[in-house]
């Protein structure tokens, strides 16, 4: 098992290196650039040249890349040009990361705790009302664009009904920061109103972001449970006279969860894409919003680190899923 983890970690380094190279050249081949973004359209060619020299952008690309990598090894990832001007890009990432973790955690949890039970019951009551309604709901979840759902939720629950905050991550309560995980901070410092405010700010973005993972996990759970219900070992379990609860948990769900686990891992990757839209709509200061901002401003340094770290998170999450898979499925463990 340890060997397996180490091997995956080495693979991760390879992924990061290749991706950094691709990103570096790809970003710089895009029209526009930091010079335009920083100086605006009215800058004179002399001013532009001056800034290019200052930032080292007049050098050939491979020189820029090697320089970048050299600094990166020393922990310098370049200064942000516009998201938080002058700050090191990695610090920008660190300041934004906890917000997205909170959001992603809430969304995934929400999706899982609703989709798995619903998927199970829909499969058990195949073709009846519960099943049909859930299938329609999951279709809506996939078909409605995330940003549109986000706008709808915001409009009804924040603007019209005024139940929940419109935007941001927390009300301005002068909360003490410890870890930058706002809910956790509130609990640690016993400023519970801070935690409550953070949770309130998370509800609508989480629902918007959970819509697609919910739909996908629901579908997979339902299909998987339907498959497992017809398995011979479920009939054996019934023939043993086991209680419905044991059959459901040990014999049906434990087997049906295997494909669901894989899908959840992949959905976490898709979540980052959804986070760009959701965070932008709710002005939620996380990675997604920072990605959108840095992209429009061609903030190369920030953009690079955000995309690279997203890739790292994706690989790590899938490593965790693979480990969990081995825990749940003995056939993977022993082969």
């Amino acid at each position: 098992m340890l060997r397996f983890i180490v091997r995956r970690m080495v693979q991760l380094i390879g992924v990061v290196l290749v991706l950094s190279l691709l990103l570096f050249f790809w970003l710089r081949s895009l029209p526009g650039g930091p010079i335009n973004a920083l100086l605006g359209d009215r800058a004179t060619p002399e001013q532009q040249e001056q800034l290019e020299q200052l930032l080292g952008l007049d050098q050939p690309l491979y020189v820029q890349y090697l320089r970048y990598m050299g600094r990166a090894l020393q922990g310098e990832f370049g200064s942000s040009s516009s998201v938080i001007p002058g700050t090191d890009a990695f610090d920008v990432f660190l300041s934004r990361f906890p917000a997205t973790i909170e959001l992603a955690f809430f969304s995934v949890t929400l999706a899982i705790i609703t989709a798995i039970p619903l998927g199970y019951f829909a499969a058990r009551r195949r073709g009846r009302a519960v099943d049909n309604i859930s299938i329609v709901a999951s279709l809506v979840g996939i078909a409605v664009p995330v940003f549109f759902l986000a706008f709808l939720l915001k409009y009804y629950f924040s603007v019209k009904l005024g139940w929940l905050p419109v935007s941001g991550r927390q009300a301005n309560l002068g909360c003490t920061r410890v870890t930058n995980f706002f809910i956790l901070d509130g609990l640690l410092t016993r400023e519970f109103d801070c935690s409550v405010s953070a949770v309130k700010h998370l509800i609508l973005p989480s629902i918007a972001l959970a819509s697609i993972p919910f739909a996908v996990v629901f579908r997979i759970t339902r299909a998987s449970v339907l498959d497992v219900l017809h398995e011979d070992y479920v009939r054996t379990a019934e023939a043993k006279g086991l209680t419905a609860r044991v059959i459901r948990g040990r014999h049906v769900l434990r087997n049906a969860m295997l494909p669901v686990l894989t899908i959840v891992g992949l959905q976490v990757g898709a979540l980052l894409a959804g986070a760009v839209l959701t965070e932008t709509v709710f002005s939620f200061p996380g990675i997604g919003e920072a990605l959108a901002l840095s992209f429009s401003a061609r903030d190369y340094a920030v953009l690079q680190i955000l995309i690279l770290m997203s890739a790292v998170v994706f690989v790590v999450v899938n490593l965790v899923v693979d480990i969990l898979y081995a825990v749940v499925d003995p056939r993977v463990r022993t082969s």
């Binding site: 398995e231 023939a239 044991v246 434990r254 087997n255 499925d329 056939r331």
Partner: protein, 336 residues
């Protein structure tokens, strides 16, 4: 010892299980209903081994699932009576039936490769029956499970209880399934083609094991098979099914020596014999798809070797004569 039954020996002549006029009809809305089991009656006495024999689709598996209450909840109707020690199993609710399944009556299925849960250790799959019906803790049940595994001939049972099904061979898994079925010393065991998916040498081992355990524990056995060789080695009484009805019944030796129904005769003719050189096998022509409806004919008539006119006009009745019964207008006369 898990196997030594402390029950008083039941009255050997009073049936343990009495199936009366069992019918199972499959059919969804807008479909022609299909009668898979059509008025089947037979009895099993304590300690007796009864065979249900027939080709695929004759209703033998459906009969066993109906007795166990394991048919799908929707899409079928079950009629008749399944009397087990004075209780009609068909009238029991789900909870009462669950209390009996695995304890009083148990079942071994056809395919050992898919009949064990792949993600649960084999030991736990044995102990869960003991936990459920004997109220044992898992810790107390584990040595009993190991003992059961050793009784069915699995070597090194203390290590094997921790194994997962994929770490065992097919024969080993079927042994484990037999151990699970016999864990609570049931009075009736139904074995639904328990050897079909196994190698010939393993088949013989499993059959010998079943025979031994059944004799040792006094468990009654319903053996469901298409293989008359299995019947010859194991069963006290044989019921031959065709098209959802019993067409012939009798004790093992008389049935083999002088089958009266052309179908039974055909089944015997289609078994290869090693003691006759150059003999050609005689298959039964056609398939169950050619069946006539029982309500105004003999279903077997289109495939029969000696049909007469009445066979396609009138339903033959099951006529009992001593310990044999026959449903045929024109039985085989010549003793083999």
């Amino acid at each position: 010892m898990a196997y030594s039954s402390t029950r008083p020996v039941a009255d050997r002549d009073r049936p343990l299980l009495s199936v009366e006029d069992l019918t199972v009809t499959f059919g969804r809305q807008g479909e022609e209903p299909f009668r898979a089991v059509d008025g089947v009656s037979f009895t099993v006495r304590p300690g007796q081994t009864v065979g249900l024999v027939g080709e695929s689709g004759c209703g033998k598996s459906v009969t066993s699932l109906a007795i166990m209450g394991l048919l799908p909840k929707r899409g079928n109707t079950v009629g008749g009576r399944v009397d087990f020690e004075g209780t009609d199993l068909l009238s029991l609710g789900d909870a009462e039936l669950r209390n009996r399944r695995g304890k009083d009556l148990a079942m071994v299925f056809q395919d050992p490769l898919s009949s064990l849960n792949p993600v649960v250790p084999v030991g736990l799959q044995v102990t869960e029956v003991l936990e459920r019906h004997r109220g044992m803790s898992r810790k107390a049940a584990m040595p009993v499970a190991a003992d059961l595994l050793s009784r069915v001939g699995i070597p090194d049972p203390n290590r094997r209880v921790k194994d997962y099904p994929h770490q065992m061979s097919g024969g080993m898994r079927q042994r484990a399934l037999v151990a699970i079925a016999l864990a609570c010393a049931p009075r009736l065991l139904i074995a639904d083609e328990p050897t079909t998916a196994l190698d010939v040498t393993i088949q013989a081992q499993i059959l010998a094991l079943l025979k031994e355990l059944v004799e040792e524990t006094g468990t009654a056995l319903i053996m469901i098979t298409h293989d008359l060789g299995v019947v010859a080695g194991l069963c006290d009484e044989v019921n031959v099914l065709y098209g959802g009805r019993i067409v012939e019944r009798g004790p093992r030796h008389p049935i083999f020596r002088e089958p009266r129904h052309p179908y039974t005769n055909g089944l015997l003719d289609s078994i290869p014999r090693l003691d006759t050189v150059g003999e050609r096998l005689t298959p039964i022509p056609g398939s169950v798809a050619d069946n006539l409806p029982w309500d105004h004919a003999c279903a077997f008539a289109p495939r029969c070797s000696q049909p007469v006119e009445i066979c396609t006009q009138t339903t033959p009745d099951l006529v009992t004569n001593g310990d044999r019964a026959l449903r045929c207008h024109n039985p085989v006369e010549v003793p083999r």
